[in-house]
Amino acid sequence: MRLPLWVAVLLVLLVIGYAVPYLLLSDVEAWSGAFLFWIVFGIVVWIILVGRVARWDVHAPPPPRAPEPGGRRP
C-alpha cells in the first residue's frame, strides 16, 4: 500500500512541529517565536486537510444500506 503524498507531508510537518520549538526557538521569548511557528503550523495543517477533502467525490453513489442494524455481518 502506497503512502499518499498528503499523509507523508503531514508526518514531516508533525516532526517539525515537535522539533523546531524545542531545538530552534527555545530561547526566543517573543510572539515571533514558538507562538508564530505553531500558528503557521495550524494553518498549513488546515490547508492540507481541507484541500484533500475538497477532492472527495461526494456524488459517487453510496453502497447499499444494511437491512437492519447489525443485520449483515462481514
Binding site: 499523509v7 503531514l10 512541529g17 524545542y22 472527495w56 461526494v58 442494524p69
Partner: protein, 491 residues
Amino acid sequence: MSATLIWAAIAFYAVAGLVVVALARRRLATGAEDFYLAGRHVGGLVSAASYAATTYSAFMMLGLAGLTYRGGVGALGFELIYFAGLALLLIFGPRIWLVGRRYGFITPSEMLGARYGSPLLAGLVAVLSCAFLVPYSSVQLLGIGYLLSGTTGGGITVETGIVLGAALAAVWTIGAGLRSVAWTDALQAIVILVTAIAALFFIIDALGGWGTFLERIEAERGPWLAQPGPGFFSFWTFVGLTLPWFFFAISNPQVSQRLFTTEDLGAMRTMIIGTLTFGLVFTLISILWGFSALLVVPELDNPDLATPSLLAGGNVPAVIAVPLVIGILAAAITTVDSIALTLASMVGRDVYPRAEPGSGDRRELLVGKVVILLVIAAAAFFASLRLDLISLLSVASSAALLVIVPTIIGAFFWRRGTATGALASILAGTATVLVLQFTGVRIAALPNPVISFAVAIAVFVGVSLVTRPPADRGAGFIDGIRDDLRRMRVD
C-alpha cells in the same frame, strides 16, 4: 457576577434546551438505530457543529486556558498537535461510515467485534470505555462546578454546579437520543464561539488594546512564549500529553461513533471542514484568553480558575460574560451527554445481550436509558470527590483509551490482525496504564502513554502473528470497501 443573574441565564438555557429536545422528540422513530445514530440521517451543518462541540469541550476555555496560564505557549502546540490528529478523520471517517452503512453497526465496539469475529472483544472495548470515560465525564461536571462557583464568588457551590450539569445532561440524552444531543450541541457551539470571541476583545480592550497586550506579555511573561517556558512543558511531558490526544478522533468512541451518523459523504466532508475551522479559531481564542489571564489575574494558585476569575473581574460586560458562562456550561454538558449516549449504546448492544441472550430492540433501548442515568450519576459522584487539575485528568482518560488504537488501525489496514491479538493488546496495554499510574514507576524519562502504547502495539502484532486470523482475514473491512473508496476518491 451575581448568582441570581447566572441562575436566570441557566433557567433560560434550560428552557431553550427543553424546546430543542421536544422538537427533536417529534422526529424520533422507534429502534436503537434511530435513538443512537439519528437514523444515520444527520446533515453536514448539524454534524459539524455537533462534532466540534463534542470534541472541543469545556476543556478549551477552562483546562486549555489554565494550561496556558501554567505552562505558556506549549499549550498552543499541544492543542495544535491534536488538531493535526483530525487528519485521522480523512482516513478512518469514510471507512467507518462505509462499514457502518454496509453492515449496520451502531457502536464502535460492535464494529471491532464483528471485524475480528469476537463478541468478547466488543464487550471488552465497551467495558473499558465505560471505565475510562466516566472519569473524563466527571472532569467536565467538575468544570461546571468550578465555573459557576468561581464566577459567582461561591454564590453557587461547586456541588450545586455538578448536580445541575448532571441533571441537564440526563434530560438532553434521554429526551431524543442523538437527535436531542446533536441539536443542543449545535446550539451550544454557536453560542460559545461568538461569546468567547467577544469576551476576548473586551478583555484585551481593558488591558489597553492589542499592542499593549502583546508588549506586556513579552515584557512581563517572556518565558511563557518559549519552550519549555516556565518549566511545565518539558519535552517528554509535551510528548506524553500530545500522543493520546493525537489519536483522540479514533480512540474515543463518543466521537468515532459520530462517523456512523452522517447522511452521506458530502455531510462528512462538511463535518470535517467545519470542525477544522471551528477548532483552529477556538484554539487561538482559548490560548489568547489564557495569556490575558496572566496579566489580569496574575497570582492564582489553581490555573483552572483562570477563566472564572477573568469573568468575575468585571472587565467583560454581563451581556457577554453571562452567555459565555452558559456556553462553557453547555460545552461541558454536551461532552457528558455524548459520552453517556455512546456508553449506553455500547453496554446495551455489546455487553447486555451477552448476559441476556435474545433480548430485543426495546429491551436494549431500556437498558441503554438506565445506563445513561448510571453513567451520569457515577460521573457526578466522582466529580464531587474534587480530583485535582482538570486538564491532566482529561488527558489521563485519553491515554487509557489509546491502547485500543492498534486494534482499530489493524481492523482496516492489517489482514493478519487477530481477535486474540486484539484482546491481548488491549488487556496488556490497560494493565500497563494502571500499573504505571498507581505505582508511580517511571521507565527512563519516557511518559506513561508512550510506554503503554508501545506495549499495546507490540502485543497486538506479536500475538496476531502466532494466532489464527479470522477466516475472511478482514475482507469486508479492507477489500470489501476498496472500490467504494476509489470511486469516492478517498485515500
